[in-house]
């Protein structure tokens, strides 16, 4: 069984130049979408919010 990943709700638009992806407010991202360091910063700033549960 695959380990579930923590997912984060996007509060403002975010995007990755490297991957060419963009997520709008209300979308969800996981640790696969952005570096852990960036996710930590964004969680501190309120750009992302932790959600209950996860995705497979």
């Amino acid at each position: 069984m695959a380990k579930s990943k923590v997912r984060y709700k996007v509060m403002v638009g975010v995007e990755s130049d490297k991957k060419g992806t963009r997520f709008e407010p209300g979308d969800y991202v996981t640790d696969d979408d952005f570096p852990a360091k960036i996710i930590k910063i964004w969680l501190d700033q309120g750009v992302l919010k932790t959600t209950r549960g996860g995705t497979k």
Binding site: G13, E15, P35, K37, I38, W42
Partner: protein
């Protein structure tokens, strides 16, 4: 896109550019006195030697003194724009390094009130002089620092959705920031404008509050400010719906 590098000690009057509320008056501008950037003082001078004191009141003192322009009376040129003293103007005086001001070049930003429009003769040339002070109707603590950088340069036509090169400010800041946008020309432009920030110059977030109301459909200028933490790298983003424009965006941290 990557962060631009600064070009160093190559700023000259030849490549200075003056934008006033959506109009490029560079070709008419000749010189200016000073670009004020200090702390206002409360004068206590009285009719006695015992009162020769000043007290800093911690209010930023900004403004442009003795801007001198040619008395160019063609439409939307210097005379046309400056003859009626106006508050609610937005001024950006950008300093190009060996060329047109580019992304990353320094700029003096001012939410201004024009307080004079004096015509004169300099030798045989008809000129106008103007002074600009901070417009109290527009000014807030969020716009006290007048020195910023160019995030979108006037020389580059915007014809598609773009994420411009970023500017590396060395570190994140927490006191907020402000930004000016001038739409200089438009050909049926329909755009949305915003700023993004990044800690690593790769992964970007829209800055909360860093969007403009103007949409590129007409010559216009708008100054915005925001209190959000601002990461080390900042860039300008224009999202196209239609048309093409020339625009200038400037950005200053507090």
């Amino acid at each position: 896109m990557t962060a631009v590098t600064q070009s160093g000690k190559d700023k000259t009057m030849r490549w200075a550019r003056l934008y006033i509320s959506g109009y490029d008056l560079s070709g008419d501008a000749r010189s200016f006195g000073t670009l004020a950037n200090g702390i206002a003082e409360v004068e206590r001078t009285g009719w006695s030697e015992a009162h020769r004191n000043y007290i800093a009141d911690d209010l930023r003192m900004v403004g442009i003194s003795d801007l001198q322009v040619m008395l160019n009376d063609t439409s939307v040129a210097a005379y046309d724009r400056l003859i009626t003293e106006s508050n609610n103007t937005i001024i950006d005086l950008a300093f190009g390094g060996g060329g047109e001001p580019a992304i990353g070049d320094p700029v003096y930003m001012l939410r201004s009130e024009q307080i004079s429009a004096v015509a004169n003769l300099d030798g045989k040339l008809a000129i106008m002089s103007a002074n600009f002070a901070a417009d109290t109707d527009q000014y807030t603590a969020g716009a006290y620092n007048p020195f910023g950088v160019v995030l979108q340069d006037a020389a580059t036509q915007i014809t598609a959705t773009i994420s411009e090169d970023s500017v590396d400010h060395g570190a994140a800041t927490t006191a907020g920031a402000w930004a000016n946008l001038h739409v200089l020309t438009t050909a049926s432009g329909d755009y949305a404008f915003k700023l993004q920030d990044s800690a690593n110059d790769t992964d970007w977030a829209d800055i909360v509050g860093a969007t403009w109301t103007i949409d590129g459909s007409a010559i216009a200028a708008e100054s915005i400010e925001f209190t959000a933490n601002t990461a080390r790298y900042v860039r300008f983003v224009a999202t196209r719906t239609a048309g093409s424009i020339y625009a200038v965006c400037t950005f200053g941290r507090l």
